[in-house]
Every structure is written in structure tokens, then in C-alpha cells.
Amino acid sequence: MVPRPFRLRQVRRETHDTFTLELEPADGSDSFCFRAGQFNMLYVFGVGEVPISISGNPTNPHVLMHTTREVGTVTKAMGKLRSGDVVGVRGPFGTPWPVEQAEGADVVIVAGGIGLAPLRPALYHLLAHRDRYGKIVLLYGTRTPGDILYRRELQRWRAQFDLDVHITVDRALSGWRGNVGVVTSLIPRAPFDARNTIALVCGPEIMMRFTVLELQRRGVSPSHIYVSLERNMKCGVGMCGHCQLGPFFVCKDGPVFSYNKVQHLLEKREI
């Protein structure tokens, strides 16, 4: 599978070490369809390829968005790209968030750090079909106030009456008037009906494990909790073997899994 060229419309700085690429097909086609929760393999000419979740709006297929953090060779090279530059795209790959299955239920979204990026398409979908869902709650935790992604959008969402947004940071200097504490501390009082809730969780694996425990304490069934997992990926189609987690290829059997499917594996060390 060879990459499709996509032209960079804009690089938007999100925080000091994260940015969003806005891409459009450079090969004459006019759209890119995906489902919330899927990812692409993004290629920077001559540097390499990395798997990155799609963070844009699935109901707008004309612009493809990816939010990522500058941490390695490829993402650092991505951060240096300018409008008009071309990147290669393979995808979309992987399983989506169960947004259809959640119809009729409350939806609680728990995001940690840059884990908000793969969840944003789910939020777009939920809001685009608002009448199909009960309460929608977003619980979002980051390290510091400066690490909060999509600030303006979150502010807009906070002002909406049909969406509960709660943000917390692990630490803050005085002057921050919001919550300080781990994201799990938002769960006990979040307004959702635990007996009829689908939870979508994405963040560092350890944060997701603690989040699931707290959701279960609230009474959410593990089969109603979905997590998006992270493993080394080279091919995206279950052939390179890198992303194996027990019997699963995270790239094609995941990245989104129902928690009860993977719980026994996440509890094992170095699996």
C-alpha cells in the first residue's frame, strides 16, 4: 500500500509541543472518509511514517486533521512543515468508537492529555446527531493548564447546554481557577446515568486503567467501556506483527476495544 499525497493547508499550534495538521488530498480527489476513532499512517518525505489518530470532523470529509505531539524524529519533522507541503497518507485504519451503539444512552468521554485528539471526532459525531443521545459528558485531564488542547473549542462547548465539559489539570500555578486533581476525580460527580452509559476513554494506559476502575465504581459495566490502545505499528494492516497484544493486532482489531475484551491483557506486565 503506497501513501496518497495530501497537501498541508495549515499547521495550527495547539500547545507548546502539540500541533494540528489540516490536510486536503493533493491527488485530485476531493474527500477522505473515516469513522471517529480511526487512524492514518502519516509519511514525511524521506524521514519516516508514524500512526496518528484522526482528530477532525467525520461529517466534514474535505479536510483531514491530525493532532500530534513533537516527540520523535517524524513528528518533529512534521512540526517543521509549512502550508503547501505534502505528506503521505495511508488509511484510514482500525476500529471506530461505538457511536452508533451508544444511541439512546448517555455518553461519557474521558480523555487524558493528547488522548483528547482521537476522541474529538466522536464528540463531533455525537453533537451532529445530538437528539440520538442522552447526556453527553466530557471529562478531560491534562498535566498543566498550558497543555489543554483545543481551548477555544472547549470554551464554546462549555457554553453549550447540551454538553457537560469538565476539565482538570494535575498541577497549576495560582491564577488557574479550574479544577486541580487527576481526571478520575471528576468521575464520581459527573452527571450521567451509570446504568445506561457508554464510556469512551483515551489517554495513557495507566490513566485508562484507573479511569475504568472509577467508572466501574460508579456502576458502568466493563462491556460499556471502550478504550483506545497504543502499540508500535509499522503497517496498519496486521502484517508487520509489531502491534500485537495477546491475540489482537491493535492496528486492525483495535485501536478501539471494549474494555472487557482486553482487561485480562492490560493487567499483565510487558505483554
Binding site: M1, V2, P3, P5, R7, L8, A26, Y43, F45, G46, V47, G48, E49, V71, G72, L81, R82, G84, D85, V86, G88, E230, R231, N232, K234, C235, V237, G238, M239, C240, G241, H242, Q244, G246, P247, F249, K252, K268, R269, E270, I271
Partner: protein, 394 residues
Amino acid sequence: MSQSGAEGEKRFVLPASQFQQVFDALKRLGYQIIAPTLLDEAIVYEPVESVDELPAGFTDEQRAGVYRLKRRADKAFFGYAVGPRSWKHYLYPPRQRLWQAKREGNGGFQVIPEQEQIPRYAFVGVRACELAAIAIQDRVFLGEQHCDEYYRRRRENALLVAVNCVYPAGNCFCSSVGTGPRVQEGFDLAITEVLDGKSHFLVIEVGSERGAAVLEGVDVQTATEEQWQQAQQAVDSATRRILKHLDTTDLKELLYRHLDSPHWEAVAKRCLTCSNCTMVCPTCFCHTVEDITNLQGTVAERWRRWDSCFHIDFSYIHGSPVRVSEASRYRQWITHKLASWQDQFGTLGCVGCGRCITWCPVGIDITEEIRALRRSEEGRVAPTVPKEESHANT
């Protein structure tokens, strides 16, 4: 089985002295012949032109961590088992360019798909375990959802000339996993070499029309019942000579039960995580990709090359690998081979060829490790009803 009818039409015999005819027929049909030959004191699969390049008169001695070539008393063409190389070397090469990209002005680039000339391979000397291994890799690379074109283009034109094993080596355990030593299916031609002191001939079965087309140019005779029986007996005797055994009862459940076993630490004390076992394994398919550019930075290439779950950076995700300890990497390999492979592809990932045992520098034996896991469960039998109680009930 009678001589007449359809079965008889598919069984032929060729004197050993005329074997070159098969090679010539293959070449006439445009095949590039890959067959066992001697290289660096091992028998490996290499391009050959003539039957003279086969390691006739050689055999191999194999034990855990040991491979030695020896002279045979006869001139058997196939009097040995499998060497370090497997057919995946040709169907799924160790290094493969996937595509190139050329810089264009305006920040762009153009992707050029790989235009390679792939020979039509004729693999001569494919053992039963190797046919099984090819069928297993077919499941990996020719999936319904995703099909690897590089593999498919090699595989679909490859002609498989199988050979029934008559002289299994010390690490063979194909009979435990049901893949051999008798060739069952998936071949175009299958050869059984019969050498009884008086005569030396090849019994050839036809498995496909492509195989039959090869024999059209060869002076074969229909095999007699006696010749067919001699061939059968030769393979039967091979079955009896396979001494290594892997108990496959509930193998998946066994390994899944032992994810936390202290035994992995014990293996890790011996394992060098050198990845030899994964390189010689005919089913291991893991690979990584490399992106390179020319010095001017105007042309980029994507290559894929074999990778191994034993390498520490195999599971690297930003910050640290998932599987840091040697124990976790050995556990991953053996659990994948024998357990999760079944969940992923519906078969074992092991065909019993014994290569991983032979080529392990410290002689780690997959069958022994399974035996050790089973032993660790002995004495932990389900509780039985106490005697007094059963008396009371009667």
C-alpha cells in the same frame, strides 16, 4: 490402491539418472529453479541450473544448537532434512523495496510504486512441513481484508515441487503438529525418492495441472503398484524415525494460563534474544520498514525487512518498549507461535520443522519448554473428594 483409474494417472516414476529432465522441463517453461544446494557448510535453497548442484550424498546431523553436514553412503538427492533457509526467503524476501518517492517542486513528491521483475519460481525440494508453512504465510499475507501484493506476485506464479521426507533430522517433530513427514496437499508435484541398494528412482505425484504440464516434457512412466508401495514404505519408515514430540493437547490454554509463569525467567537466563529462531522460522512474518533518501534528498525509498519480536525496540512506543525483559520477549514468541496464532489465523504458527531448535546458539528447544510448563502443573491436580465423604455417600 489400484493402478488403474484417476489415481494411477497421477503417479509416475522416473529413474534417478533422468532427474535432470525435470530441471530441463522447468527451465523450458520459464521457471527459475530454486533447490537445495551446499553453501557455507549448510544445505540452503539457492538458484540452481542442474541436478548436479543438489547436495547428493550428503545428510545433516541436527541436535539442539547443532547442525553438521555428513557424507552418506549413497547418492540420495534428498537424504537430509531442512536447513537454515526456508522458502519465505523467496516469497517474502528479507529485504524488499516497497516504493520510491521523488521530490517535486512546491513541497510535494510523487510516489512511484515498485516495478520489479519477479521470476517465476520453481521450488524443488519443498518438504511437507514447508508446504504447511507456506499455507500459513498465505493466511497472513493473502488475507481477505488486506492482501500483500509483493507476496502475492511471488506466490501466485511459484511452482511447488515437494519432496517426501525419508530421512528426518533429530529436531523434526512435524508428526506432532500434523504437517508431515508425508506431503498431503498444496503441491504441484511431489517426489518420493526410493533408494534400496539395487535401484534408485523417483516416484512423482501430480498435484495440479501446472505440475502435470511440467511432466509432459519428461519421460516418466506410470508407477507400478510395487513402486508406489516402496515409496509409501520409505515415508512410513521416516515417520517412525521422528523421535521428538510436542504434546499439542490444549496448547493454547496451557500457554495462556502461564503468562505469569516464573518459567519465562528461567528461559531468559539462557536466551540471548539473538532472533535466530525467528529468522530461520518458516512462518515468522514480522517485519519493520526503513525510510531512506539519496544524498541530495531528492529520492526517498521505503524498504521493508524482517524484524523479530526478540529485538528490544520491536515493541517500542514513545518513551520505552512494552517488552523490556528477555523473559517477556521469549514469552511473546512462544505464546504467539503456539497460542495466539490460533486465535489470529486458525492454525498453529509452528510446523514442527525444528529449525528454531537447531539454530538456537544455546540450544533452547521449543518442545522442551512446553514440557517444562506442563511439568510445572503436575501436582496441581484438581481436588478430589475425600474418602470419608465418598463412604458416607455410598
